[in-house]
Symmetry: C2
Subunit: 488 residues, 2 copies
């Protein structure tokens, strides 16, 4: 494990004070221009230099004829130039003393034929000057805390706690918007491309040491340095969870991965073994990977696999119980003192089995206040899952029926759902247990979003919930195993 | 199979010309009042009578002291009264000549003890008068075409093509909003409750004959009449697909189902067998069930399991290929004439393997026009799956860079995405093949919603896409098997 994150070859890529940009012009439909535009729009705070022999100015920056003309040695070079001039440009960077480069340009190993030779030349040129390269055929870096970005799309405003290393650039830049739907975001994300002399293991090591990263996500089409991967992961897992999506295990996935990055994928079982040995939790889809990151980054670890499900609807309760049970979570009966404490709050129609089906509570507020508090305190259970139903418009309607005028009702409804969300969010801290929700309402409905904003994961599907809760249990189990016998 | 849908005991429940309502008052926080309010707000066109001995008027309707006082015999009685007076009320309805009732009231078999005896009495009372009852302990009916609704929430504006029969009332009323997110909706949905003398098989039979229903969804905690279920399903499947979610197969699901509706669930394998024999496609979650309904209700059936995936991003392509491959879908290489036709439209960086990774197209419009047209025509493939990326704001930005003012750019962008969506939607008809999309953008983004509105399913996850496509293949296979040997 890295003692000092600054020792990582990726440090100056993710945290450069100055960047020299090759391949941008004033024609914004060109890829290089688009990426420079993203960097500027995202609010990068460092110095930007543009090299373009044909222009005097590029997007408001003075255009230098050559990197050799720059007034200083920049921390990082970003290349979005034609394949044929990549090596020459890296050579010039080397002569200037630049030590880090992101090569977005494609047309190397992944296209086969001449591309393979070209990539060899690129690696040799870089080696001559001790330059570390991310790519080629990548989208580079998005560091949301420092507003550093070499991908297509401008950075979203909010940084998050997910560190990503990806063998697909799309899964960096194209999921900015996806993560925002869950109030999630990247801390730093890397697109590794062909991994010429910096690979996914280097990224893993960096993210393991990154203070802003609470959980690491990996999109993998094939791992080259298997042993280094296992060792690095095992050093990180006792401190930080790692989730991986591997797509090369099926015949169709293997072929697609090969066609995409030229990765030599291995059979599913091999990767299952590598992940288990590494303490990495495996996800089955991109959605599942980020769902797992959500619970792992926002919940305390459960002591075991015992779960209470709180609902006011039998069907959603049964569906969630079934989904959880299939993944090896258990639903114990409630402890006697829990039953005693619940008594004043449950109507005669309710079932206090597990799932608890409250049907109606005497006071609707109880559902999100005193009842979850009692249930989170149950000595037999490790996790509390709550079904959230109440449509926000009905809260407003109810307040209006109580005599409030529309505007006042809206205002009071907002206060109400916020105060309820505060209680649930606080419960995660005071109980030390995961408290997670699920719903079939839209997540951006005020009453649901209020919870999500406060760090309570609420999933839009019982199956996704079960998998994300299972990830918490799996991680705890894997972590304990590694902590007990740390050697590989 | 029903010759005439009017012969179904459910016909007058879903299509009553007049309804008598028991248990509503002017206190809208009471359940009965809430349900009557939903019925009124939803725009029910028939006659409503309210029976309430304590009021003169209920929510604007004259309150009758007794059903016997009504000026006509209503088609349907809806009961949301205290458990203790349900039998007496049914008896009065019988004396009046009412033949159909929805009993929302709970506290019968599902609570055990006295409730079991009470349900027996209810069934006997109904039998005396030949009354068919939906429930007790149910939410009854939502017929979106006739605006008939006995559930909590007002009906959404748009009817859809999904017919649902559910052993959970929540999965009727609480998913109105859920389905709207996908531009989906119910034709008619039934909550069957304790199935006193009308059961899920009766509902299945009704939905099989219902002209507005293109696909049938079933939420099942336990089937009582196994043989009747199989026979009814097998009669429907050659004409209409059936999808089922069964949650009683795991230990946790079985217990939860028993606690919910008192259903005696059976092992997973037994139900797998029943579904296979019935030609029913099994779903693993509520979300998956409705995803399957989406493709089954909007796509032609594919001739086989061969799929082309069109992307402009390697990662999403590989992830989708892997997800599809794991479910037994195949990705053949493109036919030679397809490759020939594609040539003018693909850049040198593209991969014309399958998945096709176009990276950039020379003209961005090609991606949603000529390229899918060529691919849908490929003789080796049965299904086209397209990855949709382009953020709508970037379309607007691009138009602004071309010199358009903001408002004009927004207007033109809307026209552009609509015309592209028209082409894709038309392709489903002209090619006779399923054309489906996936994306990690929000579905309500203009460029995605434009497709969805036109009947093109676009899924927010590669795994969900794969399962929904697999449902098309499974249905075709099951249907063929039954058509070949129709006997049970």
């Amino acid at each position: 494990m890295l003692k000092n994150i600054q020792d990582s070859p990726l440090y100056n890529m993710a945290n450069p004070k100055s960047v020299v940009f090759f391949g941008a012009s004033n024609n914004l439909s060109a890829m290089g221009s688009n990426i420079l535009n993203s960097l500027i729009k995202g609010g990068f705070k460092g110095t930007i230099y543009a090299v373009n022999p044909k222009e005097n100015e590029v997007q408001g920056f003075k255009a230098y004829k050559s990197v050799l003309d720059l007034p200083e040695v920049p921390d990082l070079a970003v290349l979005v130039v034609h394949t044929s001039i990549v090596c020459r440009t890296i050579d010039e960077c080397g002569r200037k003393g630049v030590k880090r480069a992101v090569v977005v340009s494609a047309g190397f190993k992944e296209v086969g034929g001449d591309g393979i030779q070209l990539e060899k030349e690129l690696v040799e040129t870089a080696a001559r000057y001790g330059i570390r390269i991310l790519g080629p055929n990548c989208l580079g870096v998005a560091n949301l805390h420092l507003r550093m970005n070499t991908t297509f799309f401008p950075l979203p405003e909010k940084a998050g706690f997910i560190g990503l290393a990806s063998q697909s650039g799309s899964f960096v830049t194209q999921v900015f918007n996806y993560l925002e739907q869950y109030n999630l975001g990247f801390s730093t994300a890397f697109s590794v491309g062909n991994e010429a002399n910096v690979d996914i293991v280097d990224c893993l090591e960096y993210l393991g040491a990154c203070q802003d990263t609470k959980v690491i996500a990996l999109y993998i089409e094939g791992i080259k340095r298997g042993r280094a991967f296992v060792e690095t992961a095992r050093a990180i897992v006792p401190h930080k969870p790692i989730v991986a999506l591997y797509v090369g295990g099926s015949e169709t996935g293997r072929k697609a991965a090969f066609s995409h990055t030229g990765s030599m994928a291995g059979p599913d079982k091999l990767y299952d073994g590598i992940f288990r040995q590494s303490g990495v939790v495996r996800a089955g889809s991109l959605v599942e990977m980020f769902d797992m990151c959500w619970t792992l980054g926002s919940s305390p670890l459960p002591a075991g696999r015992n779960l209470i499900i709180q609902t006011n609807s039998g069907g959603p309760g049964a569906a969630a119980a079934d989904a959880c049970g299939r993944l090896g979570l258990s639903l114990p009966s409630l402890a006697p003192d829990t039953l005693e404490k619940l008594k004043p709050y449950v109507p005669h129609t309710a079932s206090v089995n597990n799932p608890i089906d409250l049907t109606f509570t005497r006071n609707p507020m109880d559902y999100t206040t005193v009842i979850p508090e009692i249930l989170a305190g149950d000595s037999r259970s490790d996790i509390l899952l709550i079904y959230f139903l109440m449509p926000y418009l009905m809260v407003i309607d109810t307040l209006k029926q109580m005599g409030l005028e529309h505007e006042k009702a809206v205002e009071e409804a907002a206060k109400l759902v916020d105060s309820q969300a505060d209680i649930i969010a606080r419960l995660i801290k005071t109980s030390g247990k995961p408290v997670v929700g699920f719903t079939y309402r839209k997540l951006d409905e005020r009453s649901i979003w209020s919870l999500i904003e406060r760090g309570v994961p609420v999933f839009p599907c019982e199956e996704r919930t079960a998998r994300a809760l299972n990830a918490l249990c799996l991680y705890r189990e894997l972590k304990e195993k590694i902590t007990r016998s740390p050697g590989v």
